[in-house]
Symmetry: C2
């Protein structure tokens, strides 16, 4: 039986999901968080659906052994391939990043012409299309897989001229469709917001899934009586399957605070 004092589990293929953790720490500061980043096997977005499902189940099993009360699938590639499987397989509240971002995009878009940028796995899954159409059948979604954005961000090139050139290329087909809202369908992309704004016409809304996801999470914890008491400061424990050299630098860029309590879990 889950208890309100149990931690929230969050997993991602890498450290990008720390943007979601950052939002949890802002909105639900009393919660303990157990984060798992699968750095040994990242990226997920270039791999097959079957493989992403296997990895996602393994990551969830790891977090379940730590008695989490709710799970956030922070990785868009995992959420798009494995969300339904994880919900069926594990008996705890599971929140993904896709439906909340789809809702937010509909709220932000006057015309209903919505763009999506994401990994190849996420785009090809059609998960965002499905979520948007379920919410509003008249919405139109135009997607672009942007496989080089993750390595560019990981290399610290988020503000680089080459990243801007790449963004021009990736976004041109979406701009021709006159989108007024763009979903950042990967936890790495919030770091590209500045470059994307330079490339997009003024007035296009950027939708980042971290905030709406945490809105939904907060709602679910309340409904299930699982919220941890106010006033206490929650503890963040970070588990990773590998700790490459640039680990701390990249992690702190996403989390916006110092990394501590990091443990390497070898597979």
């Amino acid at each position: 039986m889950s208890k309100s004092r149990d931690p929230i589990g969050v997993f991602d293929s890498g450290l990008g999901g720390l943007t979601v953790v950052k939002a949890i720490r802002a909105l639900l500061p009393g919660e303990d968080i157990h984060y798992f980043g699968d750095l040994a096997r990242l990226p997920y977005g270039t791999k097959s659906r079957e493989q992403i499902i296997r990895f996602s189940i393994q990551n969830t099993e790891f977090l379940m052994r730590q008695r989490i009360k709710a799970l956030v699938v922070a990785c868009n590639s995992s959420a798009s391939a494995a969300y339904a499987v994880l919900r069926r397989r594990f008996s705890l509240p599971v929140v993904d990043v896709i439906t909340p971002a789809a809702r937010e995009a509909l709220l932000a878009s006057p015309s209903g012409r919505i763009g999506l940028i994401a990994t190849r796995a996420t785009v090809e899954s059609g998960a965002y299309d499905k979520a948007l159409r379920a919410l509003n059948p008249r919405s139109r979604i135009y997607s672009a897989a942007c496989p080089l954005f993750v390595p560019l961000v990981e290399e610290g090139m988020a503000a680089d001229r080459l990243t801007q050139l790449m963004a021009v290329r990736y976004l041109a087909p979406l701009m021709r469709k006159k989108i007024d809202t763009l979903i950042l369908g990967c936890t790495h992309y919030p770091l590209l917001a500045k470059v994307l704004k330079q490339v997009l016409p003024r007035g296009v809304h950027l939708v980042d899934s971290a905030r709406p996801t945490v809105q939904g999470l907060a709602e679910i914890l309340s409904q299930h009586g699982l919220k941890n008491g106010r006033g206490r400061k929650g503890k963040l424990s970070i588990y990773v399957s590998d700790k490459p050299r640039s680990f701390t630098e990249i992690g702190e860029r996403f989390l916006g605070e110092k990394l501590s309590h990091v443990e390497v879990v070898r597979r």
Copy 2:
């Protein structure tokens, strides 16, 4: 006891090692080859030394179960981290891609001023520096980690203008050192030869490890009486830990022939 009819084992983090397989098929056409590509966990070059060693041992154990008579570590990141460990741990001839490429570079370089481009893991290991200095203490090596080259090649952008811009940036520090020879220290890079030649001053030699590695392999098989008979056509069996959508296209680009006998081995 290894027999001449047993297959040769080759592993790489992905499909780039098929450039080495292509050279084996050209020079040793009678040999059966068992190739393992760890597509579920690639890339290796961004990961920690410990992790790369673990993966390399697992890959070798998989090939050993198939009774290989010799092992080629086609992945530069694996070779630079794990070659000594694999030699100690497994009792069969192990050939890596680093020493053969270092020899070839010394043979090609009149001035002894040699450049290396490779993944971050390979550059930081210092394996090429060590191999070159062991062969000729007066050689000078200048290295540049080129982490974006692998994703650019995987995205089919080997001939793209953006790849050229990236190459200019990566190679500029090496060109200032007046290198006359450049080691392509990653199995993906032979596909970039054209772009690299456009960027480099005329006359700089490119050294690709595939051919010298297979030279060394052929020598070892002869010495140990392990060469398979002439006249027969060797069989190529490919094992991969994942089969993403672009698998066949990328694989055939490296191998230069149709992919067949592919089996997915889930982990």
